[in-house]
């Protein structure tokens, strides 16, 4: 078969359709026939076009990942460093506060125990009625013991109250675990995001794009104030909060 015969075989029917549509003034059929011919003529064109679109999309995705990575490197990483430094400061302060209170309470408890033991010893000796102690067992003999008890009780009370207050402060100092925990969680979130951005970038470089999960995170509350990182109007303490709320009529 000559090459023209092949062409005739391939295109003949389409050209006939086209001519028929032209004669019948059928616009729909006419364009359908034209499209058909174009498709036959340029089979590779659409594949190329699709590939080009895919490449463009990949480039855009890559660009968005790289832009986010640059943002992470420029802003989020230094922020995370400042947050973690603040965590160290808070844990350090809480540990020292706790240790201070323990160091302060120990001697108070020891003193109470020691003086109670001394007093107990004196009373035991007094009651044992050892011969020779007869004179001491009179009311007069009781006076030194009573004076010791009188001195001991208020001191024991003051010391115990101080130890109780210190324990309450130790309790409160443990609040650092909640606050630092919240900050560490926010840094973990950033690490996760960084990991997924890098993984996606690696996939794109390998030409194997799947699903991108950048920027799909749920909105988060700012969490504990971190000096130098937290932006916007922030209450600096309970007094600020109270002033703001009383301004709102609370």
């Amino acid at each position: 078969m000559s090459s023209f015969a092949v062409l005739k075989l391939e295109y003949g029917a389409c050209v006939d359709e086209l001519t028929a549509a032209l004669r019948a003034e059928d616009e729909t059929a006419f364009f359908a026939a034209v499209d058909h011919i174009v498709h036959m003529r340029e089979p590779g064109m659409f594949t190329e076009l699709r590939k080009l679109t895919d490449d463009l999309q990949q480039a855009l995705e890559r660009f968005s990942i790289e832009a986010r990575l640059a943002d992470i490197a420029e802003n989020d990483i230094p922020d995370a460093r400042a947050r973690l430094t603040h965590v160290i400061r808070m844990t350090d302060a809480a540990a020292h506060k706790t240790l201070d209170l323990v160091e302060q309470s120990g001697p108070l408890a020891e003193r109470t125990a020691r003086e109670a033991a001394n007093l107990h010893q004196t009373i035991t000796t007094f009651r044992s009625g050892t011969p020779g102690f007869e004179a001491a067992r009179s009311i007069e003999g009781l006076m030194p013991l009573l004076r010791s008890i009188e001195a001991f009780l208020p001191a024991a009370r003051t010391d115990s109250e101080q130890v109780r207050r210190n324990l309450a402060d130790v309790l409160l100092a443990q609040g650092y675990q909640d606050l630092t925990g919240q900050i560490i969680r926010s840094v973990m979130k950033l690490v996760e995001e960084l990991e997924s951005a890098l993984a996606n970038l690696a996939k794109l470089s390998g030409g194997n794009v799947e699903h991108l999960s950048i920027g799909a995170e749920a909105p988060q509350q700012p969490g504990p104030v971190v000096p130098g990182v937290t932006k916007g109007e922030v209450a600096s303490g309970q007094t600020d909060v109270d002033a703001l709320l009383s301004g709102l009529g609370m």
């Binding site: 309450a168 309790l171 969490g223 504990p224 937290t230």
Partner: protein, 127 residues
């Protein structure tokens, strides 16, 4: 009598729940239950018996603000006193909480005195 009040303390950190529970015990409130987020707390509140809610804001599952909105929207719970105890300190957040209907707002870190003062203020004199 008021010392019989039943508290629900909602915070995702167990250390903070223990701290608040201990402070409440020190103040004479012995009846304290705990929940780790709004989703756990809401059914407990709806089951009844609680007189006072102390909640954190930032929690996974159901945040404290959503819990407060749910409490205020529930006819049986709408009058319950609510104290928010949170690290969230942004001005707009405090206003948002006030609009949601909190009775008090304490920021972390806080002191035992602050907690007592806010409780006394919410519960009224002599309580």
């Amino acid at each position: 009598m008021s010392k019989d009040l039943k508290f629900l303390v909602v915070d995702d950190f167990s250390t903070m729940r223990r701290i608040i529970k201990n402070l409440l015990n020190d103040l004479g409130y012995a009846n304290v239950s705990e929940a780790d987020d709004g989703k756990t707390a809401l059914p407990m509140l709806q089951a009844g018996g609680f007189d006072f809610l102390i909640t954190d804001w930032n929690m996974p599952g159901m945040p404290g603000l959503d819990l407060i909105k749910a409490v205020r929207a529930d006819a049986k719970l709408s009058k319950m006193p609510v104290l928010m105890l949170t690290a969230e300190a942004k001005r707009e957040q405090i206003i948002e909480a006030a609009q949601a209907g909190v009775n008090g707002y304490v920021i972390k870190p806080f002191t035992a005195e602050t907690l007592k003062e806010k409780l006394d203020k919410i519960l009224g004199p002599g309580k």
